[in-house]
C-alpha cells in the first residue's frame, strides 16, 4: 500500500531524514516510535504530500506521489500536531466543509454522526475556538476520517485526550482497520502502540533502526526493543 524507498529530507544543511525504506501493506496498523526530533513528523508530512522529499521515492496504491498526487490525496486522512480546524466555525460547519472538499456524500449526516461518535454532540453548534485542548483534538480526529480514508496518518493522536476519548479513538482505528484501512501512527505512548498496532517501527536520528511485529499486545516487548535501540540517548 505504502512503499517508501531511500527517502531523504534536508532542511538547509541539516539532514532530517537519512534514507528511509518502509513497506506497509494494506490493512496494517503501524506505530512509529522514536525520540524527540527523530524526524517522525517530517516523515508523515512527506507521506501526506505536504512537503516534498529531497530525494527518494514515495509510492502509494502503486502510484507515485510526485505524479499522481491528486489521486492519492483523496485516500489519505492526515492528523498533524495542529488541529486544521477553523476556529470560528462550529464542529458541524468544519466537518461539512471538509467533507464537501473530499466529495463525501450525505455530508451532514456523516458529520453529525462523527461528532456524536467522538462524544461532543452537545457542542455541535459551538465555535471551536472555545473548546478545551482535548475537545479540539476529538474534532480534529473526526476531521481526519470524514472521508473514510484508505490511508490514515496520525501524529500523536492521543495528545490531550482523556481516558474515555482514548478508548473511542482506539475503537475508531480498529474499526477502520477491519474495513481495510492502513494506518501509520506516530506516538510516544507505548501502551497505546502495543494495544492497537500490529507492527512497530522505530526511527532514530532520521534513520529506521527497528521494525518488528507486536504479538499479544505485549508492551514489554516494545519497551525492551525501544530501550535497546535508544541506549545512551537521553
Amino acid at each position: 500500500m505504502i512503499e517508501i524507498t531511500k527517502l531523504t529530507k534536508q532542511a538547509d544543511n541539516k539532514l532530517i531524514l537519512r534514507g528511509i525504506d518502509i513497506k506497509v501493506s494494506k490493512g496494517e496498523t503501524v506505530a512509529i516510535l522514536g525520540p524527540n526530533g527523530a524526524g517522525k513528523s517530517t516523515l508523515l508530512k512527506i507521506i501526506a504530500g505536504l512537503i516534498k522529499p529531497t530525494s527518494g521515492l514515495v509510492k502509494m496504491k502503486g502510484l507515485d506521489i510526485k505524479k499522481d498526487g491528486f489521486e492519492i490525496k483523496k485516500s489519505i486522512g492526515y492528523l498533524p500536531h495542529a488541529s486544521l480546524l477553523y476556529d470560528h466555525y462550529s464542529p458541524l460547519e468544519n466537518l461539512v466543509f471538509f467533507g464537501k472538499l473530499y466529495g463525501v456524500e450525505q455530508v451532514e449526516e456523516r458529520a453529525v454522526q462523527l461528532v456524536k461518535e467522538v462524544g461532543l454532540s452537545f457542542f455541535l453548534h459551538d465555535p471551536v475556538k472555545n473548546f478545551s485542548r482535548g475537545m479540539v483534538q476529538r474534532i480534529a480526529i473526526a476531521r481526519a476520517i470524514i472521508h473514510d480514508p484508505e490511508i490514515l496518518l496520525l501524529d500523536e493522536p492521543h495528545t490531550g485526550l482523556d481516558q474515555g476519548a482514548m478508548t473511542i479513538l482506539n475503537n475508531v482505528i480498529l474499526t477502520m482497520k477491519n474495513k481495510g484501512t492502513t494506518t501509520l501512527m506516530v506516538t510516544h505512548d507505548f501502551k497505546q502502540a502495543a494495544e492497537i498496532c500490529d507492527r512497530i517501527i522505530i526511527i532514530k536520528n532520521g534513520k529506521l533502526v527497528d521494525d518488528f511485529q507486536v504479538k499479544d499486545q505485549s508492551i514489554e516487548l516494545v519497551t525492551e526493543k525501544y530501550a535497546r535501540q535508544l541506549e545512551g540517548v537521553s
Binding site: 495542529a82 486544521l84 477553523y86 466555525y89
Partner: protein, 226 residues
C-alpha cells in the same frame, strides 16, 4: 469541472464566514472612510487643486482597504494550519487561488459601491463624465488588483509578518494597473472628449489583468508548496 467546484466551495466558505461576522467588510469600509478623512486634513480639500487628485484618492483607498482584506484572506488560513488542510485535500492549488480570488473580488466590489459615493459626497464632486465607463474601469482595475493581490498575499503568507511584506510586493507589481486605471478614471470623470485615450488605458490594463491572472493560475503551485 473539479477545479471550479472546489474553488466555489472555498469562496462560499469564506464569504459565509464573512456573512456571519461582517467583520472584514465593515472594517474595510470604515478604514476607507478614515483614509478619506486623514487625506482631507493632510491635503486641504477646499483647495481646488485637490479635486484633480480625486481619481488618485479613489485608487488609494481601494488599494489600502483592499490590502487589509487580501492579507486577511490568507492569514485566516494560518491559524491552526488550516492551509495545510486545504493542501492535503484533493484540491489543486489553482483551486485555492481561484476560491480566494472570488471571495476577495466580491468583497472589494461591495466596499467600492459604498466608499466611492461617500467620497464623492465628502469632496463635493460633480460627475462630469460617464458613469457606465467609470464602473467598467473600476471593475477592470479591481479585477487586476485583486488577482495580483491574492497571488502575492499567498506568497507573503509564507512570511511570519505577512501583513508587512504584502504592501512591499504588491505596490510595485500592481503599479501598471494602478497607473493605468488612475489615468482612465481621471479622463472619464472629467473630460469625456479624451475618451479614446481612456479606452486605450483600459485595454492596456485589461490585457495586463488577463496575463497576470493566467500566470498566477500557473505559478500558484510553486507558491503554495510547503
Amino acid at each position: 469541472m473539479n477545479l471550479v467546484k472546489s474553488a466555489l466551495l472555498l469562496a462560499k466558505k469564506d464569504l459565509f464566514s464573512e456573512w456571519k461576522t461582517k467583520q472584514v467588510l465593515v472594517t474595510q469600509i470604515i478604514f476607507a472612510s478614515l483614509v478619506i478623512v486623514v487625506f482631507s486634513f493632510a491635503f486641504d480639500p477646499s483647495n481646488n487643486m485637490t479635486k484633480a487628485v480625486i481619481p488618485g484618492i479613489i485608487w488609494v483607498i481601494i488599494v489600502f482597504a483592499g490590502i487589509l482584506g487580501l492579507n486577511r484572506s490568507i492569514v485566516s488560513e494560518q491559524r491552526n494550519d488550516t492551509m495545510y488542510a486545504l493542501l492535503v485535500a484533493p484540491m489543486e492549488p489553482a483551486g485555492i487561488y481561484l476560491g480566494k480570488f472570488i471571495a476577495n473580488f466580491t468583497m472589494i466590489m461591495i466596499v467600492e459601491t459604498i466608499a466611492i459615493p461617500f467620497l464623492f459626497l465628502l469632496f463635493d464632486f460633480n460627475m462630469a463624465g460617464s458613469i457606465p465607463y467609470f464602473i467598467l474601469i473600476i471593475f477592470v482595475g479591481s479585477f487586476g488588483f485583486v488577482s495580483i493581490g491574492t497571488f502575492l498575499a499567498a506568497l507573503a503568507g509564507n512570511s511570519k509578518s505577512s501583513e508587512m511584506l504584502l504592501p512591499l510586493l504588491l505596490f510595485p507589481i500592481a503599479s501598471p494597473v494602478l497607473i493605468g486605471v488612475t489615468q482612465a478614471t481621471r479622463i472619464v470623470l472629467s473630460d469625456m472628449s479624451k475618451l479614446s485615450s481612456a479606452l486605450a488605458w483600459t485595454q492596456m490594463v485589461t490585457s495586463y489583468d488577463v496575463i497576470f491572472f493566467v500566470i498566477s493560475l500557473f505559478l500558484i503551485d510553486y507558491v503554495l508548496e510547503v
